[in-house]
């Protein structure tokens, strides 16, 4: 017997809905095996990952805090992916946004600059993220360069640039030579929603972004344009939609959202600029976008789920000495299964016997 993939005649809408759930199930099975190989009790490990964080208020807040950048970035990415534009470099746009916004914070440090500082930081970060994302988009449109490669490579440029700044010009003189800026002033900090808690204004902004994206895609002509360019390029051209303009636009929007997420993270939970402000949010957001079926509401749910794995990973490390990198393994396996299961929407597995009549032809 041989297993082949055969195209379905009719697109399976049921599978389109349950495919992310199948992917999560398969990932958990794989992780169970992995934990067993690592010599950890799989059930305790899975409990630490997925159940424990849901049982106390602190962890719940922490999940929302982690989901904030993930969802915000993934929303932008989903616009790109729907339009067939492959922005893989959100991590870089996130870092550049963080750097650009921090510039205002660093320059106004210790002055009596007023309440304009934080809004200015947010705007500048978004603009910088957008500009940074436009580099691969313009290379794609003008020269046909693969946006996948260029956007990815720019991540490392951004990473090293940030590193240079906090080790050089922006380093906190009182920071015992640690590569970090000084703690931002209160006017340059994202306000908390609950005193003494962890939830901050960024989560609200993210919810607004989700709602805006849902309206954009569902109700506006621009959203229709994004969907049609990705789904049927020739029909889109016939409809008068320009795919190249859309690459530019979706890259700019997703860069802006990534940049905004970057400054909110720095001016919020972190409080200062330093290397390692992102545990790979820009990459994990790719998984969030696909797991959420490129749908705003789906992305919100998927973002919370992946945030759970971050928090769960930390707890599993503390409680069971499971390496933190296992979280990344988990996320990688999950993306793999999500994409694999997606092919089941249009294809199905079939067993065929090898001794069937082969098309040998007698002509």
């Amino acid at each position: 017997m041989q297993l082949v993939l055969e195209k379905r005649a009719e697109r399976s809408n049921t599978i389109a809905l349950v495919s992310p759930l199948i992917a999560i199930g398969l990932t958990i099975v794989t992780m169970t095996i992995l934990f067993a190989i690592l010599g950890k009790n799989p059930f305790l490990a899975l409990h630490a990952y997925f159940i424990a964080p849901l049982t106390d208020a602190y962890s719940l807040q922490e999940i929302a805090v982690k989901a904030t950048p993930l969802v915000m970035i993934a929303i932008g990415l989903s616009l790109c992916y729907l339009a067939n534009a492959w922005n893989i470099g959100a991590e870089g746009q996130f870092l550049i946004g963080a750097v650009a916004g921090s510039w205002i914070a660093v320059k106004t440090q210790g002055t009596d600059a007023g309440a304009w500082v934080l809004p200015a930081m947010l705007v500048l970060a978004a603009a910088a993220g957008a500009l940074y994302a436009l580099i691969p988009a313009i290379c794609k449109v003008k020269f046909g360069a693969s946006e996948i490669l260029t956007s990815l490579m720019l991540v490392y440029v951004a990473d090293l640039f940030l590193d240079y700044l906090v080790r050089g010009p922006w380093r906190d003189p009182q920071g015992f030579n640690f590569p970090t800026t000084a703690e931002f002033d209160p006017v340059a900090t994202v306000p908390l929603l609950i005193d003494g808690g962890r939830l901050h204004l960024g989560s609200i902004i993210t919810l607004l972004v989700v709602a805006a994206a849902a309206i954009l895609l569902g109700r506006t002509i621009k959203g229709f344009e994004i969907r049609v360019v990705g789904a049927a390029p020739r029909a889109a051209r016939f409809g008068g939609f320009n795919a190249n303009q859309l690459i530019i636009l979706t890259f700019a929007v997703s860069g802006a959202l990534a940049g905004l997420a970057g400054i909110i993270e720095v001016a919020g939970p972190v409080g200062h600029l330093q290397p390692g402000i992102s545990p790979g949010y820009g990459f994990t957001a790719i998984i969030v976008a696909f797991l959420g079926r490129l749908n705003p509401l789906g992305i919100l749910i998927a973002g919370l789920f992946l945030a759970l794995t971050f928090i769960g990973g930390e707890q599993a490390q503390i409680a069971m000495k499971i390496p933190l990198d296992v979280t990344k393994v988990f996320q990688g396996i999950l993306l793999f299964y999500v994409l694999a299961c997606d092919s089941l929407i249009l294809y199905r597995f079939k067993l065929v016997s090898p001794n069937r009549q082969v098309a040998s032809g007698t002509h």
Binding site: A231, A232, A235, G239, G240, T362, H363
Partner: protein, 529 residues
Amino acid sequence: MQAHQRMLDSTPNGLHSGESPLLQTLGLTKRYGDFLANDSIDIDIWPKEIHALLGENGAGKSTLVKAIYGLIQPSAGEIRWQGQPIVLSGPSEARSRGIGMVFQHFSLFDNLTVAENVALGLDGRESFKDMSARLEQVSKTYGLPLDPRREVWQLSVGERQRIEIVRALMQDPKFLILDEPTAVLTPQEADQLFIVLERLKAEGRAILYISHKLEEVKRLCDTATILRGGKKVDTCNPRLETAASLARMMVGGEIKEVKAAAGRKTTVPRLVVNDLSLAPSEAHGVRLEHISFELKGGEILGIAGVAGNGQDELFAALSGERLSKDPGTVVIEGIAAGHLSITQRRKLGAAFVPEERLGHGTAPRMKLSENALLTGHAASGMVHHGFIDTAATLKTVDRATETFDVRKAKRDPEAASLSGGNLQKFIVGREILRNPAVLVVSQPTWGVDAGAAAVIRQALLDLASAGAAVLVTSQDLDELAEIADRIAVMFHGHLSAPLATADATREKLGLLMGGSSLEPKEAAHAVGA
């Protein structure tokens, strides 16, 4: 036993008594929700037989053959292959049993070569080289020339179909299904295909042949099964029927004649093309050479010609899918528009219907209302301040459905779920309902049944009567003779001077389509007619 009885009855002259049918369906039913696309259909296919499957658009022909080919699962009923009941889990199983199919809508990858496409469709394990060699051999044996190394996107529709046919023949099928194969072919290409089919029949194969062209069914087919509204209504010998009697069985009534309104007056020029030359956008495309014509309101200009002579390129240049540097080459409603986008041209009052319905005229996986928006967003009040007026898009769907009798399973289905002819009616309706000043339409009645074709042609005539300028590209000379006021011929990127339809005899058009020019005097006279 009872089935056997019915089988004998259905064979007009008892020719087959004694043998058993190659394929049989018994009570085959396919349900989509509450909608019965196939309602308990019995059909017998015998070896050495060309069997026609006839019916109006949406009668359920494609649905039936898709079930026979394993593409969809019947909701009830049985399929028997050489007397044995079978359940087909998919097309590859059908193919391995010896059932081949050529689809109404092609399933080819544009960016792959002919040979790669064929390889993807085959289940065998031979090497790519062997397969390519066999491909060339099969295409030569059957007189279906193909260059295995060309990429599909560069090929004309006729050539694309050849790939599908050769691919099916390479599987050496006992039973071959062809879903409207001649809808897209020129008369010459169709004749070529009939020779191939006669030969396949002589080799002992059975053929199930779907077509809306009744004359060719009479000429080619031994048996005809007629579907109406998902039910089988009759089986007959088409040679003993007339085209009109076949059509009556399909429709269950008479078909209306197309009538041009008397005293149609031409008005001002609404579409003018001035010395339009355009380099091809791809390696194997056709260069447009100095094309000029003038089309007045109230007038229908037909463009004839063998496919692949620049018709697609001309459509792209007129629609604005391709822009020309010189704005004056295309003038719409007196405004130089050669440099304007398709949206801007629509705003000037132009409307376009391309020949390819799925993927070009519509986004297959989107709803009809979204496909109404696809071309309606420019100038039809479907968008307010960037927001989509869903009610307006649905209204367009409803109006097109009503005016053009689009049959579908629900109010707003995906474009791909409509039968070919019904989708065409929707697309034409969508554009005509916008009341365009200029309508450019390619192959308006491809794969559309006789009744619906009459409706579409009548609508084009009415549109012209109302003062619009209509440009129709068609390979169907009878269609052009029926509706066009003047006919021009495209050959190698040149457009001949238009002839008045009364003067455009088949001989003259045939000469022009073959690249000869008419006598200089006559041609010169026709310029600027």
